[in-house]
Structure formats: C-alpha cells, structure tokens
Symmetry: D2
C-alpha cells in the first residue's frame, strides 16, 4: 500500500479525495492536514465519511509531512501550493497539485492572472494532468498539475477538433455553468443557500476568470496557433456538475467531416470519456459523483456552427477524481482503480 497524504483535507476537494480513496485498493491515507480542524477526525468534519475514513486532521509542518507519506495531494489554494510543493519534491515525494500554481507553463502569463511565481523553475517539470492528452508524460513525472474544473470540461471538448482543424479557433465561445461546490467551503454570503438556491447568474463576465489562460494554453497547443476565447462562467443552483456549451464556426474541412466518427476514434479507448450518440445532449445529473466526462457534438446547419457540449462532476473529473487518475498513472496502478463507481441518478 502506498501511503498517501492529503494537504488541505477539509475543503470539498479534500473530502472528495478521501471519499474516493476509501475505495482504492492500492493506497492508504496516512496524513490529512487542516489548520482549522486540527485534532478533529476528518469523519467528524465530513460525517459522510464515518466508518469509511479513520484519520484525524493535523496541522503539520512540511518536515513532518514528508515522514508520513510517500505520495501527496496538495488541495490548497494557489500561492499556498507554491510554498509546499517544492519541499515535498525536494524530499523525493511525488505530488499531484490541485491548485493553479503549476498549470501555466509560462510564468509571465501566470503572473499576469495570479501573482508573482516563487518557483518558476518547477514549471518545466510539471505536467498538465489531463490524462487524455498527456498520459505518457504523467506516467513519468513527479509533479502533476491537476487541471481546473472548467478547463477539463472545455479542453476535452475541443482539443481534437482544433488539432484536426475542424473549427476556426478565432470563433470560440465558451458558455460554462458550474455547481456551487466549485466556490469552496469558506463561509461567505454569496454562496449561502438562500443566495444561490432557486436562482442562476453569470459571474466574472468579460474575459476575467482565471481559468482562461489555462484553457487558452491547451487549446493553443492543440491548434498549433494562439487561441483566444470568450468565456463566461455561471453559477448553478446545484452542488456538483459543470456543463459547458461551446460554439465554433466550422471550417470547410469540419463541414465535410463526420465529426461524430472522429470523436469516436479519438475517445474510444478512453475509460472516462463517454461520447454520446448524435442528438443526445449531456446532463450533469448523469455524471454526478463519477469521473466521467460526457461529450456531445451537434452541427447547426442554419449557421454553419458546431455546438460541443460537455458535462463533468466538477469535484470528481474536475478535481479529485482526475487527481486520483493521475496518481494511478504516476504509480503504475491501473488507471481506473478507485474510480469506477457509476454516477448516481437520481
């Protein structure tokens, strides 16, 4: 059994790592840190975990941490991650970092959207942890930068189309909708039940959301040219789920190609991508609690545009599930280990 540590166990992604790892046969959680809940059982903080997870939250120094586990998930805010990850790596550990700190290859871009980067030298070593794109590199690395939730839903939807020049990269419009767990577990008026329930709204409109550079980085690589997108996130009155509706003008090639067949080819072997039959849109309730990304393509003949839709559970494939998928790859475990729980519906 590989000993695994969760740094930042008391947020929703930390709790979801614990929930999923409870069913993982190759690892055991040996450390779970939380400043706020130090001394409390994790199953007391998240009572759903009772009888399944038996670990106590602790406030540990990095020196203490490295004694306690061989593999680490850092589920802490960006900036905090930059402080912890280098020390874990220096101690010879492997890390999946769930923050944004190692996702952006270009430190200038990172600093434009976030803040000063304190260990830019690590950016080259970090692999962007989308297994469908970088499986082999993830197997080799000691530092995987786990993708953001919105980027996962968008990049899986678009990369093959851009690679094959089926759509015009200058026309990409991404309208994404996320469940509220994406906002985290900090107390705030804006995410109170009464503020969110029975309502719906956009936020960070006009090209300001921090997931934009990450999405554009990967789409640019796929397209082989710089890609700029319009991206509007929205807040859904539900806990789990992201649905992205993406619009692009078809190229001549795209117009003539059977894109459904293309996607069947690309994703046939992927354990966690489900291409839906043409004409069947995805729904967040059908991926809930699972590591699946459901994709659907629809041409609009009236406007010569393609609509690509993707649905994920933002805290599974969009965070903790994908992190475990990456851990599996980094340790030579079966890629699907611990991740085959079927989505729950209703």
């Amino acid at each position: 059994m590989v000993r695994v540590g969760i740094v930042g166990a008391s947020g929703y992604t930390g709790a979801e790592l614990a929930r999923l790892l409870a069913g993982h046969e190759k690892v055991t959680i040996t450390a779970a840190t939380s400043r706020q809940y130090a001394g409390k059982a994790l199953a007391e903080v998240f009572p759903n975990l009772r009888k399944r997870i038996d670990i106590t939250c602790e406030n540990l120094t990095t020196d203490e941490l490295v004694e306690r586990a061989d593999f680490f998930f850092t589920a802490v805010p960006h900036k905090t991650a930059m402080d912890v990850v280098p020390q874990l790596l220096a101690a010879g550990k492997k890390v999946v970092d769930l923050s944004a700190d190692f996702r952006i290859h270009d430190s200038t871009t990172y600093e434009e959207w976030y803040q000063k980067h304190t260990c830019p030298e690590l950016l080259d070593q970090a692999v962007y942890g989308l297994p469908e794109l970088y499986r082999e590199q993830i197997r080799q690395t000691r530092l995987t930068a786990n993708p953001g939730c919105y980027p996962t839903s968008v990049i899986l939807a678009l990369a093959p189309l851009l690679r094959e020049e089926m759509i015009d990269p200058a026309t990409l419009i991404v309208d994404s909708k996320s469940g509220t767990s994406g906002a985290g577990r900090a107390a705030s008026v804006g995410t109170l039940f009464c503020e969110v329930a029975d309502g719906f709204k956009p936020y960070k409109v006009g090209g300001t959301h921090r997931h934009i550079p990450e999405i554009e980085q990967e789409l640019s690589i796929a397209a082989g040219q710089p890609v700029t997108i319009s991206f509007t996130p929205h807040l859904l009155p539900l806990s789990r789920g992201i649905l992205s509706t993406i619009y692009a003008a078809l190229t001549d090639k795209g117009r003539e190609t059977d894109l459904q067949a293309l996607y069947e080819r690309v994703y046939r072997e992927e354990p966690f991508v489900r291409l839906l039959p043409s004409g069947t849109p995805p729904a967040t309730q059908h991926v809930r609690g699972s590591n699946y990304c459901d994709l659907s393509l629809q041409k609009d003949r009236r406007t010569n545009r393609l609509i690509v839709m993707s649905a994920i559970d933002n805290i599974v494939k969009g965070a903790s599930g994908q992190a475990i998928q990456n851990m599996n790859l980094m340790n030579g475990f079966p890629e699907t280990e611990g991740l085959l729980g079927a989505p729950f519906f209703p």
Copy 2:
C-alpha cells in the same frame, strides 16, 4: 371593472394570470376554462390562490365564453389558439393570445416551424406584444400576440444594439437557460422532480427550438436585414426564471460607443426594464415573481465581443405579466397596474 376571461386557466400561465389579476384594480375574472378541472374551484387546483381567487373552472364553448367576459387571455397551446381566437374577435372581444399562433407575421415561416395556419388573414392584425417595441400599436389593436419567454429575454437585450448597428448581426450566439415551469404542467417523465433536480442540460440543440423564428423576426426588423442566430436552450433546476447570455462581435461603431449610456437612454422610461450598472450581471433570483427584465452589458476587450445578459421570470415578463401589461395598454389602464409587486428574494 372590465370582465376578463382566462381560456386555459389550469396551466402555470393561467394560474399566474389569476395570481396577478387578484391584485389588479380595474378588472375582475369572470370566466376560467379548463376541460380537465371543470367544476373545480381554481383555488382548489392551485391552493396558493385560496382566499384571493373565487372562480370555478368550466368547460365552456366559445359562444358561452363571449357572454361572460369582455377581454380574454388565451393561455392554450398553439393550434388550439387558432380555433378560439378568431371567434372571440368576431364577437367583438379583445384578446391577448399567449400561444405562438399569431406571433409570426409570415405564414410560410409559421408553417415551417409549426403546422398549417388556419387563419393567416389575422396575422396582419396581430401586434407582437412587446410593449418596449410596439407600445403604440398595442394600444390600438384588438389582438396582441404575447411574445414567447425566450424571445422576450433576447429581443429586449439586443434590439437597440442592432438598430444602432453596434454589433454584427451575423455573429449572434444566444445561450439561454430556463426554469422548468416553461415546460408546462402536463405529467411527463422528463420534468419529474427527480429528473430535473440537482441537474442541468441543454435541449433542442442545433437550431431546432420553435422560438427561433420569432426571435429572428424581431431581430431582423431591428437590424433592417435578415438575422440568423445560434440558439441553445437549457433546462435549469428551478421553477421560475430565464437567463440569456448573448455574444456578438462589436462593430467599429460599437467598439467606440458608450453602450451603457445608449441603453440608459433607450430604457430610462421603461417601467419594467432595469439596466444594471456596468459590471453587475443579472440573476434570475432578483426578478423572481416580477415583471422586470434585468439587463447587463459587458465588453470583452480580449475578443472584441460584447456580452449581453438578460434575466426575466419566464411566467411573468415571459408570459402572464407581459400579457397583463398588454391588456393594460389595450384598455387604457395605467401600464403598470397590477404589476408592481417587487421580486421576492430570497
């Protein structure tokens, strides 16, 4: 007091007409038809109306109907409306029709998206009931075609921009999200609580929703040229509310113009349009239960696109409230009579 009849009182729009008319000082409901609930008090079908509405559902012929009221709301499905409305008009009555049957000016277009039109001669007389665009014509007509819910949210958002050539009409992408009351009150598996709750999904993707010709008709008039849009509706896990997020490329003129100031000018006197301050997106929970349409504009400098957002309550401004606004105009009542209830939040 004007005697008002509701034809089709037992759907959600019928019930909402009754709820709003309960507080209207110039009219009284004297007829409410329902085949299914004939003989039952409307307040038994919709217990929220107890003590406020004291009328019994009846199954009435049109001949009986015309004896009972002077003004009619026809809240029946398209096709059924075509059967009833001509007779009501022939009897000298005024009508606000909430179906799609009289919204499309061109019968060929209507027949392409719906079915054979049985009284195309009435299409010329019908006024499209968006008071912000056609107030004077509505005052004069005896037949108002009450706009669809999605069209209301889209046309109010875009018409001034198209009129002034601020955006390129070839680039319009409309991503709309609607609450479940829009699907009506018929028993069906797809709108069961367990199917909709805690989930989100697109439907009728790829240019197939029947509100498209209606939206395009009005946007084309505003633009002075034929407009074709990409339109994707989605189903929200809430009862009331539509939010449309609309993308358009700015023209040179649009880029240089203070669009916020333009919209302030256009909508300043409108009682039911609320232009939000720049940077403040609308939210369905802030228009809930009211006749308001909240609008917000945001330029995206990175992509040179404009994002226009609008929020309405789909069964008030998107149906019954707007119908009453039209009735007020057609009868010379104050336009806001019965419609000033503030949105309820939370």
Copy 3:
C-alpha cells in the same frame, strides 16, 4: 404618509419588510440602518428591490433615528433590540420589535433561555404581536413584540384546541421544519448552499431551541394551565417556509367534537388564516411569499390522536408580514394593507 424606519435593514427580514412596504399605500420608508452596508443603496444590497425601493443604508445613532421616522421596525438580533427599543419608545415612537427581547412576559424565563434583561419594566407594556389572539391590545400599544416564526406556526395551530380543552396539553409533540432563510444572512459554513441543498436534518433536538418558552407561554395562556411541549426543529433545503406537524391526544370532548367546524368558526373572519378542507394537508409552496397561515386538522382514529398541520412563509407571516400587520393595527390602517399579494406558485 407615515414615515417608517427599519433598524437592521440588511438582513432577510429587513429586506422583506422593504419588499412588502414598497406596495404599502400609507407609509414611506425614511430610514434604513445597516452598519455593514452603510452608504450603499438598499437596492444594491438586495438587487430585487431596484426601481421599487430608493433608500440608502445608514449607520445612525438612535438620536438621529428618532428624527427620521415616526414608526420603527427593529429587525436586529435579541440583546441589540433591548438597547434600541427603550430609546425609541422614550422619544414617543411606536415600535414593532422583531427580536425575542419583548416576547417573554416573565423576565426570569427570558433570562433562563437568553441572557440578562436590561429593561424588564418594558415587558409589561409589550403586547405579543399575534393579531389573531391579541388584536385589540395591539391596536392600543406602542410596543409590539413580533412573534417568532416557529411560534406563529404552532400557536395559531393549537390555541383554539387548548382553549376549548379538546386536546390533552401534556401530550403535545411539535415537529417543525423550516426553510433556511430563518438562519439569517450571516456568512457561515453551516448554511452554505452545498451544506443545505439536497439534504435534511434536525437541529437543537431535545428541548433546547429558544422558541420553546415563547410557544409554551402562549399555549399555557390558552390552556389555562402550564404547558410543556416536545419541540424539534429541522432544516429544509428551501429558502422560505415553515411547516409544523403537531400531535396531541384527544380529550373525550375533542373526540366527540367536530373540530373542523370549531376552527371554521374561530378563524372565519381572520384575513390571513386559511383553514383547509378536511383531508387536505398544507404545503409551504402554497403560502410562499404571502402572509397566510394555512391550517389543517386530521384525527387519527387508530391512535385517538389529533394531527394539526400549519404552513407559513417564515419571513412573511413568520416575521416581516406579521410585523406589517401589527403596524397596520397600531396605526389604524386597514389590517391587510400591503399584505394581499397572493402566494406565488410554482
């Protein structure tokens, strides 16, 4: 127009007072206090109020307050109310206090459940603001203690039965369920959307909720003897609404009496109590947004118990609506002024 001040305008009950007063024809809001949002328009804090409420939140001393209005709603936490109310009364103002500070007649009981009472001499002057029980006293008083939300739902359900000795007061079990707005608008983890949505739980189990002494006070008065109840509150995943399910053993008299007829007699003239037909349980969605209390009675012949059910909107009849009903009585306005908006459904 009577000038009205809202002390504590930025909580949910403050906002609801503003929403309802926007449609009140006899008063105008001339002061709205909020420490946190001082300088902000109330309609910016609660965007649903845009175009309906045009007042700015201020941080005012009591001296400043008394200059600004003639009638006050104090919608502040208990203990804070004790500081403000005496000064408002001393300045000759009338007050409806929405806190718990003046509801308990006996200061010892108050101090047992809350804390030291700093103006016990006012307890005698305060009238318990349940118009259905104390209408005449409310008309005469300058200080009305607006009832708690749970107590309103329970006392209206039980008082006539206890008065007439139809049920055994030693057997009362009150199982109540409340929407989340009852928890207020302060940022806290426990009322985040993700913690509450899609879930249900009891809280303060075992006779510890502070509404117990208030309920017992009024039931004891009705019964003419000390009454002790079992009371369990629960948190519902919805914003507005309280439903109480109450169990009591029938007395011989109760068994033989037509209790439906009794309640029809008692509540026939009450504008805001709706007795449902026998066999029809109430539902929170049918009182939503309104000042109604829906009641239903059901005998269980198998166990010789009576089940009484009541539904209210906790921030209308359970707080702000009832406060306005009390204000109407205290000012000689029609009792229903501003409160006749029908419940919204769906």
Copy 4:
C-alpha cells in the same frame, strides 16, 4: 459469477440495483425486464449507467426469465410481484422481492391494507429482509421480502429500545420525511419538478400510509406486545433520503439507562448502522448514495421523552442497497460486497 435478473429494471429502484451491481464482484446482470422500454439499452433509459452497464431491457415471460438467471430481484409494484415470485421460486430460484407482497406475515392484515393475497402460503417462507434483525434467517431462505423504505428507517431506530422495554410502546409518534424518488418514476402532476421544488408538505396523514402495518408488525415483535403508532409521511424537495424523527415516552428503566451505550452494544458489529455521538443529529446528505443508516438518540429531560432520529438513502438502504445486502447473505457472499461506496457529500 452468479447470474442475476432484475424484474422491473426501469424504475428508480431497478436503476439503482444496476448502479450498485456494476461494482459487485460476484454477480453479473444477465436479464433486465421492462415492458415500456423493451429493446432499449438500460444505459439509454438511465444514461448515468453508460459504460458501466451493458444490458438491454426486455419483455420476458417468467419461463424465459428462469432460463436467464439464478437469482432475481423483483422490483415491480405490489400485486405484480405476487404473480411473478411464486413461479421463480417454483423454478428453484432465489428471490429478493422489493414489493410489499411478502412483508406482512398475516394475510388478513395484508388484505386490509392492500388487496386479496393470491399466494398466502408463501408468507410463512418469506423472511423479512432486515439483516440487522433477521440475518440468520435470511441466509437460509429462498425468498426475502425486502423492507419498505420508511419501515427500515423506523425499525432500526426503535427495535432495541422496545426489546429492552426502555420506551412505552403506546406513545410512539413517527414523523418521517422522504425524498421524491420514493414516489417512483411514473409521470404524474404531483411529482413534477415545479410541484415539489422549493416546497414541503405532509401526505397520507392520519394513519393511512401502507407502511404502517409493516412497521407495527416488526415493532410488535420487538416489544412482545401489539404496538400501534402514529405515522405521518412528508415529501421533501430532494431526490434521495429519508429522515425519521421519532418520539416516545421513556419508561422508568429507560430513564435510568445509558441508552447510547445500549445502542453502541447492539449496533457495534453492524456494517451499515452508524450510531452518531450523543447530541449529533443525522442528516440525509451524509448517507446519500450509500447503504448506511445513521442513528441518533436524544433524551428530552423537560418532557421525559426520548427522540430517536434515523437517516437513510431511501433507494439504497431503503430499497436496492438492502436488497443487495440480502442477496449477499442468501448467497454466502461477504455481506458488504458492492455496498461500501462512501456517501457522497456535498
């Protein structure tokens, strides 16, 4: 691998059986019947099951069924079960029946609450499938009557207390609240999203719900005397979850006993019962998707009553999960096989 057939696969309990069995290592689904969806892949009816379940719904006769599997779940309505189960047993198969048809030992009682029983001779053979009470008998039987959802939540909460005479059986009041999946997947107005969302209500009040005889049967056995309860079910605006709040007068013995210690003793070895620490109420969101029953006890010293609270997921421990637990016992599999997925939260 044992071949398993699901009779009635297209309801929510059928789909949940499939979801859970997808992760079961000892069985494989070889038949799934549905009249309505015959010819459709089950994963098309329930798209959450894509890539996890690869079986097509069929309309099979019982003769065909018995060829196809060795073990059966009958997830059909009561009365239909009586038609199918005898033939499956006659063919030598083992059956877990999820309907009510074999739960009531006394055919007279059954016929009083349901309808004529067509195979009363099987009632003696059927074991009531609550493993915590009847584990050994379930291991031996070929027909297990899977308990109802409400009964599971109530019997686990009360049986040990009644067995040990800690509470007075004449004083039992059971206030239960259920998610909407309990109403099944048939199209009906009453369970439409708009009717249920954002609302709460009791139903079948006054001793009329058909789970009453089943609960009373088991509580009577535990108490060693006939027990009659007051039972009120309520409909929650969520899909999964039952929470029962139960009130009982303590006996002298109960008053003096450490009931927490008693329950720790009784349930310590139970894999699916989690006794919460004193003072911690259960919450449906903490058992969601899992086979756990969370229990909590609280004495109310003011009234000398005990409040027992239990939470389950109504379609897991309340239906399909418990059915699999029973199948595991009947086949000598580890009892927890396929059932250890941790509850998902949020």
